[in-house]
Amino acid sequence: MSVLTFTLTSEPPERLDLSDFTPQALAGLSVSEIETMRVGQSRRALRVADVFRISGEPGDTIIFEGGSSRLDGVGTGMSEGAIRVIGEVGARAGRAMRGGTLIVEGDCGPHAGSGMRGGRLSISGNAGDYLGAPLAGELAGMAGGVLTVAGRAGDFAGDRMRRGLIVVLEGAGDHVGCRMIAGTLVVCGGAGAMPGYLMRRGSILLDHAPASLSPSFVESGAPDSVFAALIDRYLVREGILDHPILGLAPRRFSGDNAVLGLGEIMFPG
């Protein structure tokens, strides 16, 4: 297994677009070819060698050593292999990824996991707004894969989510799961205002009762739930959570009845 390491030599003077630096995009290129690829997004036209020192050789793993909030689009469209960032990244990390593993050992900017369709994105720090959400003009957000945030997520996490699983461990901002189409969104540590605002279908699972809930959600009982047992056991087995959150018979609210109303918000009873 060969590893290609990009070591950041200094704080970039402009935003960098790293969307072309995935294992499959760099396969077959030589180190010298990679060093001359353009990464800068301004007239300055920075090349890789201007900001990174490269070691190793292209293969199925890429490591970015040293992070910056100016590193945008890390892992865009990746379909296989692994990318690990030791440090923070900017906007759109894991944008439209389809497979493989992207690990960010730091914070992410907005639109992390935007429109991802498969694979696994793990963020050990905080995520900005619009986690997994669509870019402007797109009809659906995340459509598959597993996205975990060990820290906190900003506003509009899981906006227009359609499939897949998002887990946020230390709370999320306002409007988590707004306009959700389907999928599963787990938020521990508290969600902000109006979770599930205008959601059509899908599940928002919380570790305690939401502080504020849109009046267009209605309580729909707390029968014993096999689904709760399945998701609890899955999250613990995968090492995403260290303890089950829902329990045997979670409370359930259905909504958002301002739209289709087939979604649900569940939390332990």
Binding site: R163, L165, A182, T184, R201, S203, P223, D224, S225, V226, F227, A229, L230, I231, R233, Y234, R237, E238, L262, E264
Partner: protein, 302 residues
């Protein structure tokens, strides 16, 4: 014919003849062991023989809370049929009528195979538009709202074409009580063998059959050679002191499982001995020309 003898029990130098079948397995869970078992028992009712029931089904093993997907008590049920289409039809009808209806039940795949049979993928329409699809870790579940909450059913389960149906043991004894004791001992021992079911009542069949009969249209008729009341009338396979015969029929996920089950059954009967149980063990076959799988008793001695 008896030329082998273990612990006073004569063992015929013959073989059981079995057939290739299609099989699937599912895991049924319930709020407690009683109701998990109840759903499984109901689902495997009237599933003794493909001749009249469409499939053969039974409980393979009981599963502890640690072994089921939802952490509740469960049972693994196996269903056998002669074709994939018939198996699909039987599986769907039986889950729909017997498991979906059972209080607190849930239903999961019990077999991984290249071919898939629909479970929740077909039953989801019972949800009338309120069903919910969930994919977790590569598995697909359907949540169907019902009156005690939700029926959770995995979308599909696997199918195996390696299954074998019709492994058998014939237990010959001097009295009805003795052959019943031998049969019960064999069933108890075979129950512990994984991957096999005994589809007949309590695992035992008293009406062994031969192929065809004197009446037109009869697929099977009584196994006259082993019927004690016909000893003087037909060419009987029974010794003068044999007055009752019971058969254990075994379906297995693999040929090895059937062999292991027959071996376990023989061992149990031999250990019981001729005074308490069977005086002789034989097996049913059709001359070895019809079935793909032959199990010679002499290869399965304890």
């Amino acid at each position: 014919m008896p030329d082998l003898n273990v612990n006073g029990v004569a063992i015929d130098d013959t073989f059981a003849e079995a057939f290739g079948m299609r099989a699937t397995a599912i895991v049924i869970t319930g709020p407690n062991r009683k109701w998990a078992r109840q759903a499984a028992i109901t689902m495997t009712g009237f599933a003794t023989s493909v001749i009249g029931c469409g499939c053969e089904a039974g409980i393979d093993v009981e599963l502890s809370e640690d072994e089921t997907p939802d952490g509740r008590p469960g049972v693994r049920v196996m269903v056998f049929a002669m074709s994939t289409d018939e198996l699909q039809k039987q599986l769907q009808n039986r889950i729909g009528q017997c498991v979906l209806t059972s209080p607190g039940s849930a239903c999961f795949a019990g077999l991984i195979g290249p071919t898939e049979l629909k479970m929740g993928a077909a039953l989801r329409y019972f949800g009338d538009g309120y069903q919910i699809s969930k994919k977790l870790g590569g598995r697909h579940f359907w949540r169907i709202p019902v009156m005690d909450g939700e029926f959770v059913c995995e979308a599909t389960t696997g199918l195996t074409k390696e299954a074998v149906g019709g492994g058998n043991l014939l237990l010959l004894a001097r009295s009805s009580a003795q052959t019943l004791a031998a049969a019960e001992a064999a069933v108890e021992r075979i129950n512990a063998v994984p991957g096999v079911i005994m589809p007949f009542p309590g695992g035992v069949v008293r009406s062994g059959s031969k192929i065809g009969g004197k009446y037109k249209g009869m697929i099977a008729s009584t196994n006259d050679a082993f019927a004690p009341t016909l000893k003087g009338t037909v060419k009987s396979a029974l010794d003068p002191d044999i007055n009752a015969v019971l058969e254990i029929v075994i379906d297995g996920e693999t040929s090895d499982a059937v062999a292991a089950a027959m071996r376990a059954g023989i061992q149990a009967v031999v250990e019981l001995g001729p005074e308490q149980g069977a005086a002789r063990i034989s097996a049913g076959n059709y001359g070895g020309k019809l079935g793909k799988f032959l199990y010679h008793l002499k290869d399965l001695l304890p």
